[in-house]
Amino acid sequence: MNVTDLDNVVVRFSGDSGDGMQLTGTLFSNLSAILGNEISTFPDYPAEIRAPQGTLGGVSGFQVHLGSGKVYTPGDEADVLVAMNPAALKVNAKSVKKTGVIIVDTDSFEAKDLEKAGYTTENPFEELNFSEATQIVPVPLTSLTKASLADFGMDNKAVVRSKNMFALGVVCWLFNRPIDKAIHFLENKFIKKPDLLKANVKVLTDGYNYGNNLHLNISTFRIDKSHDLPKGTYTSINGNKATAWGLIAAAEKAGLKMFLGSYPITPATDIMHELALRKDVGVITVQAEDEISGVCIALGASFAGCLAATSTSGPGLSLKSEAIGLATMAELPLVVIDVQRGGPSTGMPTKTEQTDLLQALYGRSGESPIVVVAASTPADCFYYTYMAGKIALEHITPVILMSDTFLANGTALWRLPKLAEMPEIHPFLAPDSLKGQYNVAKRDEDSQIRYWAIPGMEGFEHRNMGLERDAEKGGISTNPENHRKMVAARAQKIANIEAVIPDVVVEGNADADLLVVGWGSTKGHLLGAIHEMNLKGYKVALVHFNYINPLPKNTAEVLRKYKKVVVCELNSGHFAAFLRSKVEGVHLEQYNKIAGQPFNVKELEEKFTQLLTEK
């Protein structure tokens, strides 16, 4: 049998939103991760839970990129597409490589299926104009699944629902993946449903054997273990779960209770789900009556001495603005997690975008500077959320942590940390020496950090408020000179955080002709693009930002060093505008995409090549 060795491969599972494509994709990527591959995944699904069957709008996809080398992104085009119906085939036709393999369920290519997906001829393959180099592998998945479960006495609906496992079996065979690990995952998933487990394992095994026995007339692939990964214990994790764990770790390190006040909103809700599950480590979660209450309940918990957080997406961040303003005025620690999605308004709830940056930076009344931190991979959501908690508690300030759909739902390999490895967290509590003399305005003169006193501390009774306070006595004040002083103190406190933020690092070619600037979730795509460019002989570098406000100390120095600088982001230029306001006299080119989708490496390469070749 023909086996092709590959460094990396992109597989896309695609079907109806009820076809179980997310589970299939997750199983396959976890399986690959266990076998030592780096992975990056990208689930792409409609907002409807069950969109009309067989239609283009109902197509749900899960793409995974796995490799033996560095895997930066979930990949642009797929090497292998699994299309469970004609709609899935049509939606993904353009995102398959010319030399790709397409596995289709021939049972779902009846005339009525073609009609639902809007085909005008009887031959979808010709109509979609696939290259001759593309290998179409027709498998009657539905009828084979029915045959596989003939003796199980299950109803037809349940049987048909298992066809995703048959597809997974075929794909496992295609990639020479032993299925025992997949069976292990299924055992965990269906621990309370032994009948369903048996059925899924049977179909999966039959799918694998189908490929193996019939020697489907295609070559199979082999991908080596990754060479670059440091030794260690790994798991695969998505951004939302990593975010939740970051909060848990930070609270434990600080010796405080972890408290989440939240309200369901796509794509942030899984953070609340995970934390609600984690009562074992003492997390308190409140599903509030609305977004405003979510942040206010959290702020109350912060006043009472917890590491308090609220999780939301763009529209929810708008609703929370006033309370976040209160947190800046009252100077209380609070982590606000914004998992961005396509906007404005309801926009595209399941799609990714970076269009909340200016809202996060400026979306409050009055002079209310705030710390903004952005995660850049599903796995580093853990670290940056942890750091958001650390900054909040050590500087007694609200911090906004930016994530997005791409990070929230995407998974990556994560080397599991021990709490002892994480940086210390020392909440800035009022010292005993202030007992009996404390008031709400008491702050450290050097750092301008306000001392935090918590109910229960005797001799520290005080009144906090959203009103301006006297800088000395802490009472209500409308004195003009005092207000000027307080506004400056709050701004200085945020600016001083610069001292604890690491410098940005330039990656790629240090003598580059083009410096690429990015922030947040685009890191993988930008790294992938500059890597490709440098392989082709161009000189390109990347500086990627996780700390947005305050900016790292060396920001201006780095930006001024390169003659051509392009800021790439999934919005109309928020970060570019912010950088221009902070770094005088720097000329920044922009590359912006606002399509609800991440960048792809190819389009970035095209843009960079154009910038490098233009006069």
Binding site: Y234, G282, G466
Partner: protein
């Protein structure tokens, strides 16, 4: 402890003659009687005249943003149930902009002591009608009279499944203090509706019952386990007439004290309690005192109890345990 212990160093800035002065005094006395130390007492407020209260109390206080007091107070109490948490709010702060948080904190039964200052007006913004202003009320924002029906706070509290409702008049210091102490003793969300006179923008709003000469005949101070008797001569009482309450005179038509209803504030069924709370003049007296005081599980207790139960059973106790027990592999 004495009332003085709860006085802050701030000068009380309510308007001269405002009913809020009386509430501050009643509250400081009530806090002293309750005896929870100042450092374990937290007072949360939103925005409005009533919400200035935390500044005048030598406890932990947080004067927050308009309408959100109930949510912020809930956060404090859920995070640290051992603290005694008060919420100061007004008819605008609580029933207009903060309505959602109010009903949900009652539904959840968070152990808060909520003092609702009802003066039927927005005072701090200088005189607009509020959700409790009477139909037709003339104010700066309703120069031709309002055309909207008011809330009756008791009805809202009962509708939200509140477990405690009491009512007092600013000028009735004894009843105010009794209600506040009872609210603090109640385990669960406790509402004390204070009928407060805004001397500047809505003077005399509660005059019909507040006037000292007629108050005894126009109000009834309810007490759990006591017959519902009122009147200057202590000779009027309440009885059931079919589904409705009726005022009778003891000694007339053969009525004796034994015929008068005895108040049960503690029963779960709130039907009669609501009827009492909704009584209005001129035919019926307005009910003051503790009208409902039913005890059931509080949200803050339930949340923390559930966490303790899960922790007792789970082998995962720390972050490192969490990591050790997840799906993982060596590379």
């Amino acid at each position: 402890m004495i009332a003085q212990d709860f006085k802050s160093d701030q000068y009380v800035r309510f308007c001269p003659g405002c009913g809020d002065h009386a509430i501050v005094n009643s509250l400081q006395k009530a806090m002293a009687e309750i005896g929870v130390p100042t450092h374990q007492t937290v007072v949360i407020s939103g925005i409005g005249c009533s919400s200035r209260m935390p500044h005048y109390l030598n406890t932990y206080g947080f004067n927050t943003i308009h309408g959100r007091g109930a949510a912020i107070a809930s956060g404090v109490k859920i995070a640290h149930p051992e603290l005694t948490v008060w919420q100061m709010t007004g008819d605008g702060d609580c029933l207009a902009i903060g309505g959602n948080h109010f009903i949900h904190s009652l539904r959840r039964n968070v152990d808060l002591n909520i003092i609702l200052f009802n003066n039927q007006i927005y005072g701090l913004t200088k005189g607009q009608y509020s959700p409790t202003s009477k139909l037709g009320f003339v104010s700066k924002s309703s120069p031709y009279g309002t055309v909207e029906r008011p809330f009756r706070p008791a009805e809202l509290v009962f509708g939200a499944r509140g477990t405690f409702f009491s009512r007092t008049l600013d000028v009735d210091l004894t009843t105010s203090r009794t209600c506040m102490v009872a609210a603090a003793k109640h385990s669960g969300a406790a509402v004390v509706e204070c009928l407060v006179n805004c001397v500047i923008f809505n003077n005399g709003a509660h005059g019909w019952i507040a006037d000292k000469e007629t108050r005894a005949d126009r109000t009834i101070v309810l007490e759990h386990g006591q017959p519902m008797i009122f009147g200057a001569n202590h000779d009027k009482g309440l009885v059931l007439d079919g589904w409705n309450l009726k005022v009778v005179k003891i000694g007339e038509n053969g009525i004796t004290e034994k015929d008068i209803l005895v108040h049960d504030a503690q029963c779960e069924d709130s039907t009669l309690q609501l009827k009492l709370a909704m009584m209005e003049g001129p035919d019926m007296p307005v009910a003051l005192g503790v009208i409902r005081d039913y005890t059931t599980e509080t949200y803050d207790h339930a949340v923390n109890k559930q966490i303790a139960e899960v922790r007792a059973k789970s082998k995962i106790k720390t972050f490192d345990d969490l990591v050790d027990n997840c799906e993982k592999w060596e590379i």
